[in-house]
Amino acid sequence: MMSPDTMDAVFQALASTTRREMLDIVRNEPGCSVGAVASRFDVSRIAVMRHLTVLEEAGLIISDKRGRTRHLYMNAVPIQMIHDRWTSEYSALWSGRMLDIKYLAEQRRARDGDASEADEIAHTKGEPG
């Protein structure tokens, strides 16, 4: 469904830690300005603009000009189309389940790590664990 050129552009755009971070910011703050994104990075505004252009040309960011300000929005459709190329409803269900288990187990490990420290403190105070 997606042309090879378009898909190349998406992967190239995503193959950069800085651009992925920019995408995170725009996703978390839909409608934010270029300046708001630039303020998070220790590089020139021109460099930020260049990264944003790459993201926009790949279709991952939509820039909506209202008056003199450009508002940025993340567009999830290209990522969805890549997802759909390699997953069916069935495999998505099971891989989704597996990821749920992974996230839950990792969360629990992080929490139990804290809890066992707390237990030790409780024990030294002579309280039940």
Partner: protein
């Protein structure tokens, strides 16, 4: 994963956008988008029930057999073949009314189709908002597939099939007898709605 975030800009509307380029003429895309004579595979097989789409018109999006109603809305902007916007509320939810906008623009190689969801920016992201975010991706992808190839994507067809299996489980609240066109949500039900395009 990619769920809507609660944070929004100052102002009281939270906006999200979805875009896809469709290799077709603008009239082909527009006519699929506003087609009322048969179910729309890219809109979860909903079919418009309306006296006629046009500014101010009420509509219900009903299942192909007409028994259930998925969505109620009222047209707030209708400028063929470029802009269409309507209010939006799921029949199965009490969440605030949202706005859905479609913008079509001719670009090199086809039509840029943009879907915009606007929600009253509450601190909590409502269930409707999450569903609409999922739905928007589905609509963009499957409208593109339908116009370009004549049918929905494989995943889309699978989902429609699962929908048909789940039909008997549709809540009573969605029965079409509960949803005459008079119940279409008005723009005035959105406190923060502005006339800005």
């Amino acid at each position: 994963m990619s769920e809507p975030q609660a944070k929004s800009l100052p102002g009281e509307i939270r906006t999200s956008m979805y875009r896809v380029v469709i290799r077709a003429t603008i009239d082909q895309v527009w006519s699929e988008l506003i087609r009322t004579d048969r179910p729309m595979p890219f809109f979860f097989n909903g079919q418009y029930d309306t006296p006629g789409l046009g500014e101010g018109a009420a509509f219900a999006m009903r299942t192909p057999d007409g028994k259930h109603t998925l969505v109620m809305g009222k047209v707030i902007e209708f400028e063929p073949p470029h802009r269409y916007a309507h209010t939006f509320r799921f029949t199965t939810s009490d969440d605030p009314v949202s706005i859905v906008r479609y913008v079509l623009k001719e670009v090199e190689g086809g039509v840029e189709f943009t879907l915009i969801n606007e929600h009253s920016a509450a601190d909590e992201v409502s269930k409707s908002e999450k569903q609409m975010a999922q739905g928007a991706k589905f609509i963009c992808e499957n409208l593109k597939a339908l116009v370009e190839t004549g049918k929905a994507t494989m995943g889309g067809r699978m989902m429609l099939f699962m929908f048909s299996l789940m039909a008997p489980m549709t809540p009573k609240a969605a029965l079409s007898s509960n949803w005459p066109l008079e119940r279409a949500p008005d723009l005035s039900e959105i406190p923060a709605a502005t006339e800005e395009a």
